[in-house]
Amino acid sequence: MNRGIEVILPETVIRVEDLRKSYGDVHAVGGLSLCVSKGEIFGIVGPNGAGKTTTMDCIVSMRRPDSGFVSVLGLDPLKQRMALLKKVGIQQQESELPDRMKVREAIELFSCFYGNLKADTGILSRLELSDKKESYFSTLSGGQKKRLFVALSLVGDPEIVFLDELTSGLDPRSRRSMWDLVRGLRDDGKTIFLSTHYMDEAEKLCDRVAIIDNGKIVAMDTPASLIRTHAFALSVIMGIPDSFCEREIESITGVVEVFREGGKTIARVRDSSAVVGIVKLLVESEIELGDFHTEKSTLEDVFLKLTGKEIRD
């Protein structure tokens, strides 16, 4: 034993190896492997129908995979289902409650499933539902329903929280407060496994991201390194006449490609020194400049590059 060096390895809480699941001829998940460490916000991101929900369902024992290995907190979802469900919280993309169940009753009922006879109503204020306590489920707005289901996923004080399409259908303000909530859960020491088809959400919220397309992971890393590896650092957008020679811009070191789009010239560049080069060229040629700004590459660009398709709502 080497006592002098203390190696801190992150504890793996979810391990999936070569997961496969088909529905008839449709391969929803085709050989997917991933590991999630304790205390991170891990996101699977991809278009609708990419296999995100099926993957999540197999991990949380809601579906039986055709083949592959899944372990959650050291438990086998198929053989130790109840033990697993006690330790995780699940917010499903599509689920409902009886129309005439009140918010407070739902919290109390689900708390009792986890053995908590006194429901923690603090959870309602955390999700801004305190004033809806006595409202029927059917009278809640879409966003309020979503928040209630997030609350229900938390009543058992889970170690891992699974959130499927957490913010779809929410307005921008609710999205942001949901993100803050998720970050708060991580700060409490919980692990978050979420799925989203919003690239910006994955980029801003997740510590690590798996980009999934057609049931397979096409890339997995932190958002920053995915962008560094697979996309250009910046796009330079210039409102200049198309007569201006693209080839001259292209020849500047660090410029990857130049093209016209929407009446503007766009240059994809690797670093900011290339931007300096472009500015210099534009100044020297004394060209009339309508617009000039740079945009940072996003996960969306990574997705486009890796799959060749645009993600749509």
Binding site: M62, M82, Q92, R100, M101, E105, F113
Partner: protein, 247 residues
């Protein structure tokens, strides 16, 4: 475990009462019918008998409560629960799905008991209803009846692909039994061929059994009725066990 079961049962019970149509057709409608027919026929003993109309018909009204909660109540809630993903939400919690169904059945049983109590209280207070049977035997027969009709209700709840088709099947079971088994109309009023047909309806056996016991008979005098109801119970739950889907 027990705590969860009680919470769920109580919740389901409250939810049933909050649904105006379920509340009305299970609890109020049979009571109104009994009041209506009772005010027409009264409860004076029939010539040469020791019982009157209400003593004779109360079993039919109890049968109506059993039928409404067992077929309509069960199908409506289970099929809707499945279609809307409520069962899926329960399945994602550390609770046995079987417990959810048991609680659902228990709450319907409580509803049926409540309906029966309403009928008995009204019968006793308004019409001076007579009772010649044994409370224990009537209660046992009531439990068996409720179980068998609920088991029947599980068939559309399990087999129907959608809530809508479940309701259609449930209606197809409900109305013939309501009108032909003697629940809403006396079977004696039916033409002979319908009366013969009504023999095969489980609710007919329920009402015959309850009425027989009510008027002083004993369980062992009704082997056919008891056998039919046990058979229906086993068959219904067997079909449910094989075909029931959570999603």
């Amino acid at each position: 475990m027990l705590q969860r079961y009680f919470r769920l049962t109580r919740m389901e019970f409250i939810l049933y009462l909050r649904e105006p149509s379920g509340f009305f057709f299970t609890l109020i409608f049979p009571l109104l019918l009994m009041m209506l027919f009772g005010s027409i026929w009264g409860n004076d003993p029939f010539p040469g008998e020791n019982f009157g109309y209400i003593d004779f018909a109360v079993s039919a009204f109890i049968g109506m409560v059993i039928l409404t909660s067992g077929i309509m109540g069960l199908t409506t809630s289970i099929a809707a629960y499945r279609e809307k993903g409520i069962l899926r939400r329960f399945k994602a919690s550390p609770i046995s799905p079987l417990l959810v169904l048991t609680a659902e059945l228990s709450s319907l049983f409580l509803i049926t008991v409540a309906g029966m109590i309403l009928l008995l209280v009204a019968g006793a207070l308004v019409f001076g209803m007579r009772f010649y049977g044994s409370i224990l035997e009537v209660f046992l027969a009531f439990v068996l009846s409720t179980l068998s009709i609920s088991a029947l209700g599980f068939i559309p709840a399990s087999l129907a692909p959608t809530a809508r088709s479940g309701m259609i099947i449930a209606n197809a079971m409900y109305f013939p039994m309501l009108f032909l088994s003697g629940a809403a109309l006396p079977r004696e009023m039916l033409p002979p061929f319908l009366s013969t047909f009504s023999e095969v309806l489980p609710l007919t056996q329920v009402i015959e059994l309850l009425r027989g016991l009510w008027l002083g008979g004993h369980l062992w005098e009704f082997p056919v009725q008891i056998a039919v109801l046990c058979g229906v119970t086993v068959a219904g739950f067997a079909i449910a066990a094989k075909y029931f889907r959570w999603e």
